[in-house]
């Protein structure tokens, strides 16, 4: 049965029709057209779908859109401001923290969450934090470098 849901996405209030079973990731991609959030495994393993809900990183393939009614959601599209990349995005570019780029939106969103409460993470802390984000290209080395550099840059 369809109902409508209203939430804040990237600072703007949005309303859309959803079914009870509609996942947040599908609401973002199909209803709002925000296709930066990817569906990788669709089984809450890979982290390509990571977004922030009320300031915390979550896997948007494992939360219902209706659960997010009234919530503040941030996707990868919400990071850059006025055409300037977010420091974490810039760090991924500078350090070549990607190859195919499919996992990158989730990696960046996860990394931004880490940096918010751990401004200077060690390599070990970054690797542990990225447990829920899989990359099948890079071997993670440059991703870890990017996250460390991005966290530093976020402190200004």
């Amino acid at each position: 049965m369809a109902s409508t849901v209203t939430m804040t996405v990237n600072g703007k209030s949005v309303t859309g029709a959803v079914e009870a079973r509609t996942l947040l990731v599908h609401f973002l991609r199909e209803t709002l057209g925000l296709t930066g959030t990817h569906v990788g495994c669709d089984t809450s393993q890979c982290g390509a779908c990571v977004v922030h809900v009320d300031g915390k990183s979550v896997k948007s393939c494992t939360i219902l859109a209706v659960q997010c009614a009234g919530a503040d959601v941030m996707t990868i599209e919400g990071l850059a401001k006025d055409g300037t990349l977010h420091p974490m995005q810039e760090a991924f570019r500078d350090n070549h923290g990607l190859q195919c780029g499919f996992c990158t939106p989730g990696m960046v969103m996860s990394a931004v969450d880490l940096a918010k409460h751990n401004p200077a993470p060690s390599e070990q802390e970054v690797r542990e934090w990225l447990e829920g984000n899989l990359c099948r290209c890079t071997g993670y080395h440059n991703i870890v470098k990017s996250v460390i550099a991005g966290a530093k840059a976020m402190q200004g």
């Binding site: 979550v58 209706v66 659960q67 447990e131 829920g132």
Partner: protein, 264 residues
């Protein structure tokens, strides 16, 4: 995922009323097990009752010599809580080893214990620490709560509200993780506290169990050496592609020895 009616009650009483009225309702806490189950069409509930709108079900507080954790408290909240780290650091450590950061932001203690996955971490903590589960109907001792594979003592209309952990003198949790899922292939929670020395094993059998032989040995001497020579029986333990029953039995000993060492 099959469709369902979604409800987000604001009180436990309303949630219980919805549960009683619906044909085949499921309660949803963090949804970290329920949603993947629904996505695979392994369940088709008529109604999903989201407990996320009930104020007061999440939170951590000290009550006398016990730490009380609300059912909707997330693993991340337990892992980062200054109160938990100060009183039962082993519990914070356990919560910080569940899944990955994103799962820990959603998954809850109430959901974990009500689901009673054989490889879940929390059942070990509840049994080893001699915890008490408070529901909307009664209190249940941890020893009576976990009854079998994905089975608990909870009645159909019963909702977990909080878990009370007596603060132990010392405790530690060690697990051998499945490298992909992070679930426990074997986890051992050892505690020395108000209810004596307890060793609770998760992941190894159909549900959490106490390793009484190790408890007796540790009651005499709470040292890794006391359990060094013990061998857990492999009969009745899980055997799957990840580990045979014999290997799990071996890990029970190794994890317990390491947990005792970590507890100090």
């Amino acid at each position: 995922m099959y469709n369902f009616e979604y409800h987000k009650p604001t009180s436990v009483a309303d949630a219980a009323a919805l549960l009683a009225k619906a044909d085949d309702a499921k309660l949803m806490a963090g949804g970290m097990t329920l949603l993947p189950t629904l996505k695979q069409r392994l369940a088709q509930p008529s109604d999903v009752i989201d407990l996320g709108g009930i104020a007061g079900l999440a939170g951590i507080r000290k009550e006398g010599n016990a730490l009380v954790v609300g059912a909707m408290t997330t693993h991340a909240a337990v892992a980062h809580s200054a109160e938990v780290k100060a009183t039962i650091p082993a519990l914070a450590h356990l919560a910080g080893m569940i899944g990955d950061p994103q799962v820990r932001h959603r998954g809850t203690i109430g959901g974990s214990i009500a689901n009673n996955d054989p490889a879940a971490d929390y059942p070990g903590a509840l049994v080893a620490l001699g915890a008490t589960v408070t529901t909307n109907k009664r209190t249940i001792a941890a020893d009576q709560f976990f009854t079998g594979l994905f089975e608990t003592a909870l009645d159909a209309g019963e909702i977990v509200q909080s878990v009370s952990f007596p603060v132990p003198e010392k405790a530690a949790y060690t697990k051998f993780r499945n490298p992909a899922s992070r679930y426990a292939i074997v986890g051992s929670f050892v505690a020395k506290g108000p209810s004596g020395v307890r060793v609770a094993i998760t992941g190894a059998g159909p549900t959490v169990f106490r390793w009484k032989e190790a408890e007796a040995a540790l009651a005499g001497s709470f040292t890794p050496a006391a359990v060094e020579k013990l061998t857990a029986p492999s009969s009745g333990l899980n055997s799957d592609i990840h580990a045979s029953a014999e290997y799990r039995a071996h890990l029970v000993g190794v994890m317990t020895k390491r947990a005792v060492a970590a507890a100090g």
